[in-house]
Amino acid sequence: MTTRARTTGLPGWIFVPATLGAVFVLLPLVAIIARVDWANFVPLITSESSRAALWLSLRTSTVSTVLCVLLGVPMAVVLARTEFRGQGVLRSLVLLPLVLPPVVGGLALLYTFGRRGLLGETFSAWGIEIAFSAAAVVMAQTFVSMPFLVVSLEGALRTAGERYEVVAATLGAGPTTVFRRVTLPLVLPGLLSGAVLAFARALGEFGATVTFAGSLQGTTQTLPSLIYQQRVTDPDAAVALALVLVVVAVVVIGFARQGRGSTR
């Protein structure tokens, strides 16, 4: 038995809307589970195409989460810690992949990196063909997931404030040291939840992927594309695969949260 600081307690009424909200979000999941054809569950989810799609989804989502972190952390830091003209507009623009319907996002990527896109010709000249490859899947996922990471992290950075960074500077730490030893560790929880959001979004991404990368088994057919396709011909398989997606997500999210818990 360890001594614990107690919380101040929550107002009782708050549990009413909270439960309502939880039920609203959870019931549909229950409904999906209720529809699963358990007799054929294992064969359905272990078919070759399912395994290929799951594997591809996991790999591409991981890579795009890493990309989101590599590019998104600097963006969030710049947005949170500097002030310049037009920053507000830039921030809104960075959020846009959120609001674009994924299919339009996919089109925009095609218009940019496709064979006839803005950069496509340059890339083609270099012999790089992005569209309809696994690289395209990663790009589509990165494009739609990036705002999640940037927004959560910028919020965390602003809430954490600059006080400790200032202290570190007065102790002689240069900007890079401050960033590595103070800024990052302090916002680690925010960074982790941002990364989890980005991973989750990448894992569920479908519209932009199909439009920009197509849906070819083993190369560009991710689990959501497979589900989308199966939904027509084999709803049972679609539901079973959706459940797999859900389980993978729960495991990954739970894992990340646990890691986060232990750093606190």
Binding site: L110, G114, R115, R116, G117, G120, E129, A131, F132, V210, T211, G214, S215, L216, Q217, G218, T219, Q221, Q229, R231, V232, T233, P235
Partner: protein
């Protein structure tokens, strides 16, 4: 032949061909040792835009002639497109037909929850044409983007009736019931297929087209409810 080691044939086919082309591909792989057929299914217009944007496709089987015209307009075809199947609309209702639909005329009116395809997609265009031909004004509760969405609304019991292709009704099995629609006979959807110019494996692509047009291909298509091309 034995020299086909590790080659992959990319076939882009309309979503409504999913189950049939999977069977055709299996047959093709059996006949061509070492060849892997990779199928990519989507709405015809999505397929065409993918190909125009540089997707690595060897064969395209589309669900309407209009989209195929875009390919020929861009000169992306290796040979002339050939029609290989046709399809017609049917009324689809949930099992037991709760709203008691018997024919096209029953679909008019607001007490029947009817879902149809949006006029922008082929099945929607066909629906509109039947409606014009028969003079029956439909008041759907939803105009869906694809056949799959129409079927989804019907199989879930949300809608009382929908208008989809015969092949879709058959594919959906006992989750739905189909109701013959004589008025649809005049509004036929034609499926063309073509080998593509950028393929790099012209022979293999043409062999796949030939298989679809040949006896075993046609048999599979007929089994799924497709009518032969005229």
């Amino acid at each position: 032949g034995a020299d086909d080691e590790d080659t992959t044939l990319h076939v882009y086919a309309a979503a409504s061909l999913t189950s049939t082309f999977e069977q055709v591909a299996a047959v093709f792989e059996e006949e061509h040792d070492g060849v892997d057929v990779e199928l990519s299914f989507a709405g015809s217009s999505d397929l065409v835009s993918s190909i125009r944007e540089g997707a690595d496709a060897d064969v395209l089987a589309s669900a309407d002639l209009a989209t195929m015209d875009e390919i020929t307009a861009d000169g992306l075809e290796a040979g002339d497109p050939v029609d290989f199947a046709t399809n017609t609309l049917q009324i689809v209702v949930p099992p037991g037909n709760p709203a008691g639909i018997t024919g096209f005329a029953d679909l008019a009116g607001t007490d029947v929850k009817l879902v149809i395809c949006a006029p922008e997609v082929p099945c929607g265009a066909a629906t509109r044409k039947i409606s014009e031909n028969t003079g029956v004004t439909l008041s759907p509760v939803s105009q869906e983007q694809s056949v799959a969405d129409v079927l989804g609304k019907v199989t879930s019991g949300e809608a009382d009736a929908g208008l989809v292709y015969v092949t879709d009704v058959i594919a959906a099995g006992d989750e739905v019931e189909g109701i013959e629609l004589p008025e649809a006979a005049d509004v036929v959807n034609t499926y063309p297929i073509v080998a593509l110019a950028d393929s790099g494996q012209d022979d293999l692509a043409q062999e796949f087209v030939d298989l679809v047009l040949g006896a075993s291909g046609q048999e599979i298509l007929a089994g799924a409810g497709f009518a032969p091309a005229p």
